[in-house]
C-alpha cells in the first residue's frame, strides 16, 4: 500500500514534466512514431504496432548478405535473453527476469543496469515498453515498474495482481498514446486473467478488462451456470498485442482456461479464454472476439501475435488480422469487425471434428485428456507458440515457425480438479519454417529446422531477407520468397527471442540474442 501511495505522490510531482517529455522534440520516444513503418529504430516489442516485424531497412540485402560480419559481441551475467531489445536513439533496452539493461547500440557497452530481486516465476521476460523518457517493466512478482530511461532510476512500482495467488508478469508492455497496456501470466493456480491500462505518468490503473465475463454479461452463457467454474478463470494475457491507430482498435491474444487439462467442471466454450479479442484502448471495452480454441483442454493459448495486414483483394480493400495459432490452425479475420475469413490447418492435427459456421474448430471430446492417456497433435507446447512471426510485403507471405509435435495427454486429478489437473508427455517433435500465402492458407514453402522444438522468432526486411535461427545453433538469413538459405553463422547457443535490426550513423545492424550474449552484425567495410 505504501508503494501505491508513494507512487501516487510521486506521480503528482512528475505530472508537470510528462507533458514536456511527451511533447518535446528532444524526447527519446514520440509515441506517434510507433504508428510509422519500422525503419531506423526499434521502439516497441514488435518494432511497430502492426506485429509484422518487417523493417524498411535494405542496406543489408540479398546481394551482400554473405558479407555480414561481427560488429560487436557483449556478454551479460544473466540467464538466456528472451526479450526483444528496443533500440531508441542509439540506446538498446533489454531484459531478463528482475533485470533491465541500457546498452550502447554501437558497441554493446552497458550504460546502466537495473536489478530488482523478487519472488515469483522467473520463466522469462519479453522486454520493456517505452513512453517519452520512461520505461515500463513487468516482474516475476507481478509488479509493473517504471524507470527513467536516462538513468535506470525507479519512478514508481505498482502491484498488478497478487503473486501469492500465482500471478507473475513477463510480457513487454505496449504503449498506445497515454496508455501502458499490460497483461499478466500464471496458470498453475486457478486465477482469472485480465488486461490493464496504466497511466504512464502516475501508474494508476485506467481500466481493466477481465478475460472472463461477469454473471449475466454476454459470454457468461459459455460457462456452467450456478457453479464457481468461471471464477477458476485462466485467460492470461502474456504476450504483447497489436494496435491499429486508424481504427483505434487494440488486438490481444488470450490464454487458456483453468483447470488447464480438465474441462469437465467448465463445460461450454469458456469465453474469452483462447480467444483473439479487440478492445477500445481508451476504455477497455470489448469490440469483438473470435475463439481459435473453444473449450480448450490442451493449454493452447491463443496469444500468438495477431499480425495486421492490409490488402486489395478482388478489388476490395481489406484490413486483416492473421494468426498462426498454437492449436495448429491459421486464421484470417477482418480486424474491423472480427468477421471470419479463413481457417486452415498448417500441421496435421487430430483434435478437431471440423470447422463450424463461425470458422472456429470444433473440439473432439474424445481427444480431451483422459486418465489412461490420449494421443494428440499438437502437444501442449503447440504447433507454434510465442515465437514472433513476420509478414513480408514483397513476397506477400506470412512467415512463422511451426512444429510437428505429438504428445500423450493425461488427466490425473482425483475429485474436483484444480490447477493443471494433468499433463502431457511429449513423444517427438521437429520444426520447420512456413512461407504461407495468407490469402489461401496454402504453404508456399517449408524450411526444415531440425529435431526438437524451435523457439527463435523471425524478422523480415526490405533487403529481401528473412532472419531467424535453427535448432542447431545456426543463425540464418533466408530468401523470404523461397525459404532458400543465403547466409548462416554457427554460434554457441540457441536464440530464445527474435532478431531485430536498426540503423545508426548510416550503418544497418542485425541484432541477435544468443543465450546471454548479444551479437550485432553489420556489412564488412
Amino acid at each position: 500500500m505504501m508503494k501505491v501511495v508513494a507512487a501516487t505522490l510521486l506521480a503528482a510531482v512528475v505530472n508537470l514534466q510528462v507533458t514536456i517529455a511527451a511533447d518535446s522534440a528532444n524526447a527519446s520516444l514520440q509515441t506517434a512514431d510507433l504508428s510509422k513503418p519500422l525503419s531506423k529504430d526499434w521502439p516497441t516489442f514488435n518494432g511497430d504496432y502492426s506485429g509484422r516485424r518487417f523493417s524498411e531497412l535494405s542496406q543489408i540485402n540479398q546481394s551482400n548478405v554473405k558479407r555480414l560480419t561481427l560488429a560487436w559481441m557483449s556478454q551479460f551475467q544473466t540467464v538466456g535473453i528472451k526479450s526483444t531489445p528496443l533500440m531508441v536513439n542509439g540506446i538498446l533496452y533489454f531484459t531478463t527476469p528482475d533485470n533491465v539493461w541500457a546498452a550502447d547500440a554501437h558497441s554493446g557497452e552497458t550504460i546502466w543496469h537495473y536489478y530488482r530481486p523478487s519472488q515469483g516465476d522467473h520463466i522469462g521476460n519479453r522486454g520493456v515498453g517505452m513512453y517519452g523518457d520512461w520505461l515500463y517493466f513487468g516482474t516475476p512478482d507481478c509488479h509493473l515498474v517504471s524507470l527513467d530511461a536516462k538513468t535506470g532510476n525507479l519512478r514508481w512500482d505498482i502491484e498488478l495482481a497478487d503473486p501469492k495467488a500465482g500471478y507473475f508478469a513477463t510480457m513487454a508492455p505496449l504503449i498506445v498514446r497515454d496508455h501502458v497496456i499490460v497483461g499478466v501470466s500464471g496458470d498453475v493456480t486457478d486465477v482469472p486473467g485480465f488486461l490493464a491500462s496504466v497511466d504512464p505518468v502516475t501508474g494508476s490503473v485506467q481500466w481493466k478488462w477481465n478475460s472472463e465475463p461477469k454473471p449475466g454479461e454476454p459470454g457468461s452463457e459459455t460457462w456452467p451456470q450456478g457453479t464457481d467454474a468461471v471464477t477458476h478463470g485462466g485467460g492470461m494475457t502474456w504476450m504483447t498485442g497489436t494496435y491499429d491507430p486508424g481504427l483505434n482498435q487494440l488486438y490481444w491474444g488470450i490464454g487458456n482456461p483453468n483447470p488447464v487439462l480438465n474441462g469437465d467442471i467448465r463445460k461450454g466454450e469458456n469465453l474469452y479464454t483462447c480467444s483473439i479479442v479487440s478492445l477500445n484502448p481508451d476504455t477497455g471495452k470489448l469490440l469483438w472476439h473470435f475463439q481459435p480454441s473453444p473449450h480448450d483442454t490442451h493449454d493452447w493459448d491463443a496469444v500468438q501475435t495477431p499480425v495486421l495486414v492490409d490488402d486489395d483483394y478482388n478489388g476490395v480493400h481489406r484490413k486483416l488480422l492473421l494468426q498462426a495459432s498454437r492449436n495448429g490452425f491459421f486464421f484470417v479475420l477482418d480486424r474491423t469487425t472480427g468477421e471470419h475469413i479463413l481457417t486452415t490447418p498448417f500441421v496435421a492435427t487430430n483434435w478437431s471434428k471440423g470447422i463450424d459456421s463461425r470458422g472456429q474448430p470444433i473440439p473432439n471430446p474424445a481427444k480431451e485428456p483422459k486418465p489412461d492417456g490420449v494421443l494428440v497433435s499438437p502437444g501442449s507446447d503447440g504447433a507454434t507458440n510465442w515465437m514472433a512471426p513476420t509478414f513480408d510485403p514483397k513476397s506477400q507471405l506470412f512467415l512463422f515457425s511451426a512444429r510437428r509435435l505429438w504428445s500423450l495427454f493425461y488427466m490425473t486429478a482425483e475429485g474436483k480438479p484444480e490447477g493443471w489437473a494433468g499433463r502431457d508427455r511429449n513423444l517427438w517433435a521437429d520444426s520447420f519454417l512456413v512461407g504461407m500465402d495468407y490469402k489461401t492458407g496454402n504453404i508456399r514453402w517449408k524450411h526444415e529446422m531440425g529435431k526438437g522444438e524451435a523457439v527463435a522468432g523471425l524478422l523480415s526486411t526490405a533487403g529481401n531477407l528473412l532472419f531467424t535461427a535453427d535448432n542447431a545453433n545456426n543463425l540464418l538469413a533466408l530468401d523470404p520468397a523461397t525459404g532458400k538459405t543465403l547466409w548462416h553463422a554457427h554460434v554457441s547457443a540457441g536464440m530464445l527471442t527474435g532478431p531485430t535490426t536498426y540503423e545508426l550513423d548510416g550503418k544497418q545492424y542485425l541484432l541477435t540474442a544468443v543465450g546471454s550474449l548479444l551479437i550485432a552484425w553489420t556489412l564488412a567495410e
Binding site: 500423450l408 475429485g415 511429449n426 513423444l427
Partner: protein
C-alpha cells in the same frame, strides 16, 4: 479494480492482526511436508470443515480453500489459525475454539498440502498407477503387435522386450510404446561417403543443413560439410515416427495391456 482489491486485503490484515497478539497462532508448528500431519489434518478437516468447504477443501457451500487468498498468504498459521479459532461471523463461518493447537496445525498442514498439490499438478508422476492405464484389451494388443502395427518386424517378447514391463514404470512403458525418447532408446546413425569413396559410419552427434558430425567406426569424431559428401541416415525409430499418426487411442491402450500383462 486493483486498488479495491488491495484495500480489501488491508482490511483483512487489520481484522486478523489483533488475533496474533492473543496467542491464536498454533503453538504446535505447522508441518505441511509431514505426511502424518497432513493425513491427520485431512481427517480433522473432513469432520470439522468438510460439510461446508468440501471434504477435499475445493469448496461446496463455502468457498474453495485450495485457491483461497488466505491460504496463499498464510505462513505457519499466521492467518489461518485465527480464522479457524475466531470464525468469520460476518460471512457465516462459525468459530472453532475447542480444537487443540495440534488439530489446528494439522488442518493448516492439510490445506497447504492441497494448495501445493494443485499448483504442482502439471505433472504425470513416474509412479502413476498402472490401474488407470490398464483400460485396453491385451488380445487386441497382441493382434496389433503381430499384425497391423508391424511391431514384430523389429521386436519380440522373447527377445528385446523380454521382461520389459518389469524394467519400466507403467507410465514410461506406455510412452515408450509410441515413441521411446528415453536415454536407453537407440540413436540414429549415419553412413557418410566421401567423393573418393571412403566411408565413415557411426552415431550422429550433430546434424544441420550445413554439417554432419559422427563418432566414426575408427573412434574419431569426424565432421563433414554436407555438400561434400553423400549421407545415408539410419534412424531405428523411423517406424515409430511413421506409426504415430496412424495410432488410435485404443491401439495404444491395447498394446500397453498386452506388454504390461506379459510381465
Amino acid at each position: 479494480m486493483l486498488k479495491r482489491f488491495q484495500r480489501a486485503w488491508l482490511f483483512a490484515l487489520i481484522l486478523i492482526t489483533p488475533a496474533w497478539g492473543q496467542g491464536h497462532k498454533p503453538a504446535t508448528a505447522v508441518s505441511e511436508s509431514d505426511p502424518a500431519a497432513v493425513e491427520r489434518g485431512q481427517a480433522q478437516f473432513k469432520s470439522s470443515c468438510g460439510f461446508c468447504h468440501g471434504e477435499d477443501a475445493t469448496g461446496s457451500r463455502a468457498p474453495d480453500l485450495v485457491r483461497s487468498s488466505i491460504v496463499a498468504h498464510d505462513e505457519q498459521g499466521s492467518l489461518l489459525a485465527p480464522t479457524i479459532r475466531n470464525g468469520r461471523p460476518d460471512q457465516g463461518m462459525p468459530a472453532f475454539p475447542a480444537l487443540s493447537d495440534k488439530q489446528v496445525a494439522d488442518i493448516i498442514a492439510f490445506l497447504h498440502h492441497q494448495a501445493y498439490e494443485a499448483s504442482h499438478s502439471a505433472h504425470v508422476p513416474g509412479n502413476y498407477p498402472v490401474a488407470k492405464l490398464l483400460t485396453g484389451n491385451a488380445e487386441a494388443g497382441k493382434a496389433f503387435f503381430l499384425g497391423d502395427g508391424g511391431c514384430s518386424g523389429c521386436h519380440s517378447l522373447d527377445g528385446d522386450l523380454k521382461g520389459i514391463a518389469s524394467r519400466m514404470n507403467p507410465i514410461d512403458l506406455q510412452q515408450a510404446i509410441v515413441y521411446p525418447n528415453n536415454s536407453r532408446a537407440p540413436k540414429p546413425t549415419a553412413t557418410v561417403t566421401l567423393k573418393d569413396g571412403t566411408r565413415y559410419e557411426g552415431k550422429i552427434l550433430h546434424q544441420d543443413e550445413f554439417r554432419i558430425s559422427i563418432m566414426a567406426q575408427d573412434g574419431w569424431y569426424r565432421s563433414f560439410a554436407v555438400p561434400d559428401v553423400t549421407i545415408a541416415i539410419h534412424d531405428p525409430l523411423e517406424a515409430h515416427r511413421a506409426l504415430t499418426s496412424r495410432y488410435t487411442d485404443a491401439d495404444i491402450h491395447n498394446l500397453f495391456a498386452f506388454l504390461e500383462k506379459a510381465k
